[in-house]
């Protein structure tokens, strides 16, 4: 199959196969692959490009899993750098931002063996007490699986209790690479691919929406990436509950794979593009700026991505692994990134409902207009 063949398939709305996906990952002309992905992206969303006001909190980095790629987790409570937030400290993160509150709180943690399940219920309930309409996107499928095995419940029971306490949706982390040849080497002591997918399946049956991810750029092959995408596509055919797919670039600092180089920007763009082309049933592809830097994420908006994630604030997992991205972006910065890419910025809620549509700006003119406005603002402040 050639790129022209893929193009014809896409025009005919035919599905791409495993071999097609591998070919796209291997194809030397990344820009041409990006063009195909951009066509699909524009067919689905036009110029609309999404982001939200969110806030990341990692309440504990104590973890029983020993994933090779992780620079965040400390294996035991009391280990140097290990930290578990008292509930008041976690809630304080939101209270301190109530002058410009986030619409969504995104919580991901280590798998802490010593906390009671009520800690997580109280955590959620406390955030809802402070801001009843905040969306709680919390706990990866890996965490839900851990809760089920550790506290002796089914996935349904765990999710039902957490929902009763305030959980609204699940984030996509923990997928890593599904293929057992890779997963067995980099993440052997946490939820398997089947368990990860089953948690999402159960959540979707309960009416919840979830995201999914893929950690790329370490020891996996392009075949493993294609396998990963096809497993997600199959789940989505079955449930329709995935909202967004987020390719996550491996960062090597301070973890068990520190001798590997980080994936490059070209690989990031290629992975975004192929994801857009293969995951024909997943509505949104995110260019997660924390993982790929805001600059490359902006370019990814022309390679198939339609979402930049959000303002973030307090992300520590990627920063522990050496990410040089800033800790947070303001709404103004996100809007500017989108406008200067010639796209239309849309602030969304977690379910992609429009909160606010911003001004459109043409590529060159728009950039100048935004800079001009910024310069005027500075002048006003100065005077």
């Amino acid at each position: 199959m050639t790129l022209d063949g893929i193009s014809r398939k896409l025009e005919a709305r035919e599905r791409l196969t495993f071999d097609d996906a591998v070919m796209l990952f291997r194809h030397p002309d990344v820009v041409a692959v990006g063009q195909l992905a951009n066509q699909v992206r524009e067919r689905l969303h036009g110029d609309r490009t999404f982001f939200n006001r969110n806030m990341r909190i990692e309440v504990t980095n104590v973890c029983v899993a020993s994933c090779l790629f992780c620079s965040f987790a400390k294996l035991a409570e009391g280990a140097p750098g290990a930290h578990t937030m008292p509930l008041e400290e976690a809630w304080g993160e939101l209270e301190s931002r109530m002058d410009d509150p986030p619409a969504e709180i995104h919580i991901v943690n280590g798998l802490h063996p010593g906390l009671p399940f009520s800690y997580y219920e109280d955590l959620l309930a406390g955030f809802k007490r402070i801001k009843p309409d905040v969306h709680m996107k919390c706990f990866t499928a890996v965490e839900i699986h851990f809760f089920a095995t550790h506290y002796g419940m089914t996935y349904s029971q765990v999710l039902a209790r957490l929902r009763a306490a305030g959980l609204d949706s699940l984030p996509g982390g923990g997928a890593e690479i599904f293929h057992p040849d890779v997963r067995g080497r980099i993440a052997h002591d946490k939820a398997t691919a089947e368990e990860y997918l089953e948690v999402h399946r159960v959540a979707h049956r309960l009416g919840m929406r979830t995201n999914s991810t893929m950690l790329y750029g370490h020891i996996e092959t392009f075949e493993h990436r294609a396998d990963h995408l096809l497993r997600l596509r199959a789940l989505q055919d079955e449930t329709g509950g995935l909202q967004a797919f987020i390719p996550l670039a491996f960062h090597p600092d301070g973890n068990g794979m520190r001798n590997l180089p980080a994936p490059t920007a070209m690989d990031a763009l290629r992975t975004v593009a192929v994801s857009r082309l293969v995951l024909d049933n997943v509505p949104h592809i995110k260019a997660y700026w924390v993982s790929m830097t805001p600059e490359v994420a902006q370019i990814a908006l022309r390679f198939g991505a339609d979402d930049l994630d959000g303002t973030i604030v307090h992300e520590t997992i990627y920063r522990a692994a050496g990410s040089r991205s800033p800790a947070a972006l303001t709404v103004d910065e996100l809007v500017r990134l989108v406008q200067e890419a010639g796209r239309l910025p849309i602030e969304r809620d977690t379910f992609y409902r429009v909160v606010r549509e911003y001004e459109r700006a043409a590529v060159a003119e728009g950039a100048l207009k935004v800079r001009d406005r910024k310069a005027k603002k500075h002048l006003q402040v100065a005077s």
């Binding site: 050639t2 790129l3 022209d4 193009s7 291997r26 030397p28 002309d29 990344v30 820009v31 041409a32 990006g34 063009q35 195909l36 951009n38 600092d253 180089p261 994936p263 490059t264 920007a265 070209m266 690989d267 990031a268 763009l269 790929m292 830097t293 600059e295 490359v296 902006q298 370019i299 022309r302 050496g322 040089r324 990134l337 200067e340 890419a341 010639g342 590529v363 060159a364 950039a367 800079r371």
Partner: protein
């Protein structure tokens, strides 16, 4: 269009209204008067595809990477793009590189200095017509290394730079990377680099 361009890329260049440029360039014919305006507003990926095609036909797949003082053997055959200062976005940088390739003299080297834009963006310019990269090796925080620190950089960073070129996979195979930093021997191909790393 030429055999190097797939029908898909050919269509993209045509539909962006840039089809006549490649033909004119191949024939060394006069370029259209409205060219600059067309390039400023053309679809970026189509422009990139055009620039990449010109790059492949005129200078081939070799990428040179300079980590020290980059040579200027013939100023008329070199366009240096120092990204960052005054560049509002990475997208503008890509367009600037592509335009330099399309409008520049035949066979010119388009060199991107990564000091302002970072290695990530610099790598992407290799798909938009650039064929040389230059800049200082930096530490993890992006700060340039002092001359005294360079001795400690050694093979690993040079290896990473070669990987950067290799991973672009523009032609599906490794191209030669000339790395002239640190006062060590010039590395002319991947095999030599591998031997040195070993």
């Amino acid at each position: 269009m030429g055999k190097l361009v797939s029908a898909l890329v050919d269509r993209a260049i045509e539909s962006a209204g840039l089809g006549d440029l490649l033909t004119a360039r191949r024939r060394d014919a006069r370029l259209p008067d409205d060219l600059a305006a067309r390039l400023a507003s053309a679809d970026l990926l189509a422009l990139g595809a055009l620039a990449d095609c010109v790059r492949q036909e005129e200078v081939g797949d070799e990428v040179r990477v300079y980590t020290g003082e980059a040579p200027v053997e013939d100023a008329s055959a070199l366009i240096v793009i120092s990204a960052g200062e005054g560049e509002p976005t990475g997208l503008d940088l890509l367009r600037r590189v592509a335009v330099a390739r399309v409008l520049g003299p035949r066979g010119v080297s388009v060199r991107v200095d990564w000091a302002g834009c970072g290695l990530e963006l610099a790598q992407i310019t290799l798909g938009f017509g650039a064929n040389e990269l230059s800049g200082r090796i930096a530490n993890k925080r992006g700060l340039p290394l002092a001359p005294g620190e360079l001795a400690g950089v050694g093979k690993k960073s040079r290896r990473e730079l070669a990987d950067l070129v290799k991973r672009k996979e523009l032609a599906g195979y490794v191209r030669r990377a000339f790395i002239d930093a640190l006062g060590v021997a010039e590395i002319t191909d991947e095999r030599a680099l591998a031997q040195e790393s070993a």
